[in-house]
């Protein structure tokens, strides 16, 4: 025993001496080395005196990630954290709180084990709770920081909003519910401010790009279908992320709503909520800016025709009386709101930028009706964001299918039984394509039963990429035509009949032009005018296109010149720069190869089509 003591004392003294030496050493050198700056994960665990899952959770919540020291002093395959990060965790109140909670949990289990149900029950009801508010503030000191990092949170929240609450994976239904709620609130805000910019329906899901406080946020939402929870995914990690993101998005939503002068959280109409039209309910709650939302909506929104069970019907009968009263009061409210809106509009108008205005006016005078088979929430979100009025086939719809005001019916079925002649029956892609291109595209290629033209990604800069899909060209021309209020080109090979709609759109566009005097558009006009002039001079448009197409071709394959000044200059590069240059060239050639492949495919496809045509001829 005595010897033990003495040995331990000796050890202590030695350690102290070592520490002093280290201090001296580092003090002399000035800046500490990697070993003092970084710490491996296991050592961090020891220092924090927590287990790995807890550490993982803390790291996720606190946004702490490993770092790459210049010299990995403990080995290559170790994870290194910055010492400052770990010390930061050490002072995290959440760490203490989690210990407290763990101790509390023990109390509960103990009480249960002793069949002390009273105590267990009481303890369970008074569990210590914690919030992540301080973490949000700490990680995102200003609002703009939070908005910049919003892509992952939005994707995650939208995913959890569609997940089934599952006990085997311990996805609690509260989380799902709150995520759903937050996602809807976010969408409602976006609709209200018309800040949706781009939509892309991909195989993976639907991408939305939203512009909030000058930041472009692109997030992905899954297709509204049953998600299968995979077995090889650690849902604890996902849930921890979701927990933080939920808090973050809550505060962001609050700030956004606050900036509009609205109360947060918004009050949902319980009836619409029940009819699974929460988004619409929220939108109605926020319906300020949308002038297109007619009063009729509010009144007819009360129509409910789908209850199945008997008792539900009864309760509805009771509710109907109430509804009438509510409708009246709402009508009054709406008229008040209208007046408010006018005031607001006057205030708002100068604030809106050009983009928002164009977005708001895109579907301004159009009324849509969604079929049962189309993704309602997505279309509702898009159409409302771009200023259209929407109804749908189902509970809580604002107006019925046979309403005369409907101009477009969105359908996605092989055949439609009864058709109203006053409407266009288009596929959902039409809405997305129109929204992406900010013009009303001709509906003909999107009509019911046809295979629609390709859906192009709005995130691609075709020119930079090197290959412009055919349909992108068509759209570009249509846009220019719409902007200039010119008749479509006679020689356009696409053969698409640009209808009255286009003319109407063009007319509206011209008004906009007059009012706004867009410089950019003017430039585009100029280029278009030049095109026209050239065309008048005798060159065919298609010929020019070919010429245009030739240009990148020559870029792809420069004829091997005897004396390339580049080759000369390349000789004079230093080794590092040469390697960099080579890597860059390699990636460029790879890209070019890809473009070449795509062009080759296109050529083949065209040939096939031509052959088919000639055969049928």
């Amino acid at each position: 025993m005595c010897s033990d003591l003495s040995s331990s004392q000796v050890k202590q003294v030695k350690n102290a001496v070592k520490a002093a030496k280290r201090k001296l050493h580092t003090g002399r050198r000035g800046n500490p080395g990697n070993a003092a700056k970084y710490i491996t994960r296991n050592k961090a665990l020891n220092r924090l005196q927590i287990k790995l899952p807890e550490f993982r959770r803390l790291c996720i919540l606190k946004g702490i990630h490993p770092r790459e020291p210049k010299k990995k002093f403990e080995g290559q395959n170790k994870t290194y954290y910055h010492v400052k990060d770990i010390n930061f965790l050490l002072h995290e109140p959440l760490l203490e709180k989690s210990r407290e909670i763990r101790a509390y949990e023990k109390k509960i289990t103990k009480a249960r084990a002793k069949y002390n149900t009273d105590l267990a029950h009481r303890l369970q009801n008074n569990r210590p709770s914690f919030t992540l508010d301080h973490l949000v503030k700490e990680r995102y000191p200003s609002f703009i920081d939070a908005v910049r990092d919003l892509e992952d949170p939005l994707t995650m929240i939208h995913l959890f909003a569609t997940l089934p609450a599952d006990t085997t994976h311990s996805v609690p239904f509260e989380r799902v519910h709150s995520c759903r709620r937050l996602s809807l609130e976010w969408q409602a805000y976006v609709t209200r401010t018309h800040s949706l910019r781009k939509i892309f329906v991909s195989v993976k899901g639907i991408y939305y790009q939203v512009e909030v406080s000058g930041q472009k946020i692109t997030y992905l939402t899954p297709h509204v279908l049953n998600q299968v929870l995979p077995e090889d995914v650690d849902f604890r990690v996902m849930l921890t992320f979701a927990e933080f993101y939920e808090t973050l998005l809550g505060f962001v939503n609050f700030k956004l709503y606050h900036s509009l002068g609205l109360n947060y959280p918004p009050v949902l109409d319980p009836r619409l909520e029940q009819a699974a039209a929460e988004l619409y309910a929220l939108m109605k709650d926020l319906a300020g800016g949308t002038t297109s939302a007619p009063l009729l909506e509010d009144a007819s929104a009360k129509e409910d025709d789908a209850p199945v069970s008997v008792d539900e019907q009864q309760s509805l009968m009771e509710a109907e009386n109430k509804e009438k009263r509510i409708a009246e009061s709402q009508a009054r409210l709406a008229s008040l709101q209208d007046r408010l809106k006018q005031i607001e509009k006057e205030k708002e108008k100068p604030q809106d930028d050009l983009e928002t205005r164009t977005c708001r006016r895109l579907f301004q005078n159009l009324t849509f009706f969604l079929g049962r088979e189309v993704p309602r929430e997505s279309l509702l979100f898009v159409i409302r964001s771009f200023g259209g009025a929407v109804s749908w086939d189902g509970d809580g719809a604002p107006f019925p299918e046979n309403d005369e005001v409907i101009t477009h019916q969105i359908v996605d079925r092989p055949t439609q039984g009864h058709k109203f002649l006053s409407r266009h029956y288009v596929q959902p892609q039409w809405v997305y394509d129109c929204a992406n291109n900010r013009i009303l595209l001709p509906t003909e290629p999107y009509l019911l039963g046809r295979i629609p033209p390709p859906h192009l990604s709005p995130f691609v800069d075709n020119e930079a990429e090197g290959h412009v899909p055919e349909y992108a060209d068509t759209i570009k021309r249509l846009r220019l035509a719409a902007n200039q209020q010119l008749a479509p080109l006679p020689g356009s090979e696409s053969g698409i009949d640009e209808g009255e709609l286009l003319v109407a759109a063009a007319a509206r566009r011209r008004e906009d032009l007059e009012a706004e005097k867009e410089r950019e558009l003017a430039a585009m006009e100029k280029s278009y005018a030049e095109d026209l002039r050239r065309e008048l001079a005798g060159k065919s448009f298609s010929g020019e296109e070919e010429a245009l197409a030739d240009v990148p071709e020559s870029e792809v394959l420069p004829p091997p010149k005897e004396d390339d000044p580049k080759d000369m200059a390349k000789m004079m590069l230093s080794r590092n720069k040469r390697n960099l240059y080579q890597a860059m060239e390699m990636s460029n050639t790879k890209k070019k190869e890809e473009v070449k492949l795509i062009k080759e495919r296109k050529r083949k496809a065209d040939e096939k089509e031509r052959k088919k045509k000639t055969r049928t001829m």
Partner: protein, 743 residues
């Protein structure tokens, strides 16, 4: 009370045990105890635990007060009952009834035997004491009890025969009488004999009934009085209550639950300032954003983005990491699009990336790669330089290994592996002279002194000095004199000469025979000295020869590595010796090492010196070209990796700022290499032109015959030389062609 209780118990138990001796005292004692009990009962009335005894004693009390003598049997019965109660006999009631009905029967029964007063009072003494007496003892009054006359055999026989119940009778010795056993007693005896309990009615195994009612009694044996504190309100509780009441009144305790704060509140103000640092003072590294989807991810992509069947199949042949992760697919309608199975997994992977991937800020250069290229002056501004092939000198049948131009620029000397050396007229391309050397020519060198047109040719082991027969007669005469071997020179030196200067009979020149292959010959600028290099010659690898005196000397005792090339400084007494990786500069006047250039090259193949003598270029087997500015450093001023394959030769122009390198990749690179007289200004190096035109020659096998083909010929451009006055370049290729490139 406890004492009396004990007494009672004793009495009862005594009664139970003893037969008759104490039975007479019993009544009084019982009575006494009853009285005592009664007294005690009056004093303290409420003892729950002794209810039963109280009842008993009350009854006994009554009996004692009334008729003590008369109620003998009643008393007796009570005691019996108590006794039966005490031992837990269930049949007590039935017993009692029987006895009260028939007193006599009770007396005669075995149980009554105990109670019947014994007539004989002698006590328990052996009856032998009275054997000889006429009496057997005494009765209560003290009178003698007379023995009865004993029956004899006959009498007893008669009795037995008279009385059929005679065998029921038992003789009682103690009282000297015959007792007739009752039927019950007989039964009892028979049961005893069978080993059973004597009383038929006794159930030995009846359920146990506790003699004491424990329920709600507390500790049965404590008779401590209930303490007072149990009856008065607690002081401490009162204090606590007072405290709570006070806290409630003052509002310290709030009875209703605290109002739930709204979960979200306005967290941020309106400042749009962006923070670059996290709260712990480290720079904030935002996670890289996910890549935005392209057309190919669309549910309905353009046709050109959908790979064909063959392409999809070909993906299988790729390495797994090269294989595209996403294969575009077309759906005719939005309703056909299924749920994306990998969705959750991809998001989970993103989550993992967010918290598990080390983050570092890396500059991504999203620039045009051409911006990395240095800005060089245009080659046009640096003219003249050789650009186009003007002439081809054809005639050799083997790879041309070496060329050399004469200092006037009129003639060109070339040596080839076919064993010939030719002299060409530069202007016309006419071959003026052909010498057949009889072995593969490694190197040719024209004397740089215009007054002495002598050529040195390295042919296998020999260096041959020849007269190219150019120039006027006076010169010719001079040369003839020079090339005449002076026998006198060899004689005075008595020790064996290093190299024999012999006459080459066939070609009328001088032949210097070396021990090993000579691969390089180079002249001093003044044209008197030349040096030969035979790399395998060990310490005789480098030999300096003097033409005027026809002498050879070995300036070096040893070499550091295999010597590749040797050059003289054009003006000063320096010599450059290139070994495999270093170039050593020797001061010939002081006979010491002046400098050692560290090249960093793998293997030096050739060397050329600027006419000023301060700048040196090296060509290497690693396709690298080094420029040394010896005033600047012993390390390369510039290393250029211009060729794709080994550099065979490098050359400087004598007057123009030009230099060139040629390589096995069939190209010759011409550079502008301006050396400024201002020491502060570094040399300007600009690549000017890449000259092509030579065909690939055959690489001669080096292993088959060492002598013939050593060293292995290069397949590309083997040698280059600049024209001494014009900006022209001669190139010699392994395709046996010599080309002249002009500006």
């Amino acid at each position: 009370m406890a004492a009396s209780d004990d007494d009672a118990l004793q009495v009862l138990s005594g009664d139970d045990q003893d037969d008759g001796a104490y039975s007479s005292d019993f009544e009084e004692e019982e009575a006494d105890s009853g009285e005592e009990e009664a007294d005690l009962d009056e004093e303290e009335g409420d003892f729950d635990d002794e209810d039963e005894e109280d009842e008993d004693s009350d009854e006994e009390d009554g009996a004692a007060d009334g008729n003590v003598e008369a109620n003998d049997s009643a008393n007796h019965e009570e005691i019996r009952e108590a006794l039966l109660d005490y031992i837990g006999n269930g049949n007590a009631g039935a017993d009692g009834d029987e006895e009260s009905d028939d007193r006599e029967a009770a007396d005669e029964s075995d149980s009554s035997e105990d109670e019947a007063p014994p007539r004989n009072t002698v006590g328990e003494i052996p009856l032998e004491f009275y054997k000889d007496e006429e009496h057997i003892g005494y009765d209560r009054a003290g009178r003698k009890l007379k023995k009865q006359a004993r029956k004899d055999q006959l009498d007893s026989f008669l009795d037995r025969s008279d009385d059929p119940k005679d065998w029921h009778k038992v003789y009682d010795e103690y009282n000297d009488e015959y007792v007739e056993l009752t039927k019950e007693e007989m039964g009892m005896i028979s049961r005893i004999r069978q080993g059973k309990l004597p009383h038929a009615e006794v159930d030995a195994y009846q359920p146990y009934v506790d003699w004491f009612d424990w329920d709600g009694k507390g500790h049965p044996l404590s008779n401590a009085p209930e303490p007072k504190r149990r009856f008065i309100p607690s002081k401490w509780e009162a204090k606590k209550v007072v405290k709570l009441v006070r806290a409630l009144r003052k509002g310290w305790i709030k009875l209703d639950k605290p109002k739930e704060k709204p979960r979200f509140y306005l967290m941020w103000g309106d400042d749009l300032k962006v923070n670059e640092k996290t709260a712990n003072g480290l720079a904030y590294i935002p996670a890289p954003k996910a890549k935005l989807p392209g057309h190919e991810e669309s549910y309905n992509p353009p046709v050109e983005y959908i790979p064909s069947e063959e392409e999809i199949n070909s993906y299988q042949l790729m390495y797994e990491e090269d294989r595209p992760k996403f294969i575009p697919k077309k759906f005719d309608s939005l309703r056909h699009v299924p749920a994306y199975a990998e969705f959750i997994k991809e998001i989970f992977e993103r989550c993992l990336d967010l918290y598990l991937c080390p983050r570092t800020r890396k500059k991504r250069l999203n620039i045009d790669p051409d911006s990395l290229l240095p800005k060089l002056p245009k080659p046009k501004d640096l003219q003249p330089y050789p650009t186009t092939c003007f002439l081809e000198y054809k005639g050799h049948t083997g790879a041309v290994s070496s060329i050399s131009a004469d200092p006037t620029g009129e003639w060109l000397l070339s040596g080839s592996r076919d064993g010939t050396v030719r002299v060409w007229e530069v202007q016309t391309g006419r071959c003026k002279k052909v010498w057949d050397m009889g072995g593969s020519v490694f190197c040719v060198a024209w004397n740089p002194n215009p007054a002495l047109p002598v050529v040195a040719i390295a042919v296998s082991n020999d260096v041959v000095l020849l007269d190219p027969e150019v120039g006027d007669e006076e010169v010719q005469l001079n040369i003839a004199k020079l090339l005449a071997v002076q026998p006198s020179t060899s004689e005075p030196t008595e020790n064996t000469p290093l190299i024999g200067w012999k006459r080459h009979d066939k070609l009328r020149g001088i032949q210097l025979s070396h021990q090993q292959n000579v691969v390089r010959v180079s002249w001093h600028n003044k044209g008197d000295y030349f040096v030969s290099v035979s790399p395998d010659g060990n310490n005789r690898a480098v030999l300096v020869h003097q033409l005027s005196k026809q002498q050879s000397q070995n300036p070096f005792r040893k070499h550091h590595g295999r010597v590749a090339d040797v050059l003289f400084h054009p003006a000063r007494p320096f010599m450059f010796v290139a070994t495999k990786m270093h170039v050593r500069v020797y001061n010939l006047a002081k006979q010491e090492l002046s400098k050692k250039l560290i090249t960093g090259l793998q293997e030096i193949s050739s060397m050329a010196l600027h006419s000023g003598g301060d700048n040196l270029i090296l060509g290497s087997k690693g396709a690298k070209l080094c420029w040394f500015d010896m005033d600047l450093s012993v390390k390369p001023y510039k290393t250029i990796k211009n060729h794709k394959e080994d550099i065979n030769a490098v050359a400087f122009h004598k007057s123009y700022p030009l230099f060139a390198s040629c390589s096995d990749d069939l190209s010759t690179h011409v550079f502008h290499g301006m050396v400024y007289s201002d020491l502060m200004q570094n040399p300007l190096i600009v690549p000017l032109k890449i000259l092509h035109g030579h065909q690939k020659g055959e690489r001669s096998p080096s292993g088959s015959s060492m002598l013939q083909s050593y060293p292995a010929t290069s397949p590309g451009v083997s040698d280059i030389k600049f024209h001494p006055t014009q900006p022209w370049l001669f190139t010699a290729g392994a395709d046996s062609v010599i080309k002249l490139f002009c500006n």
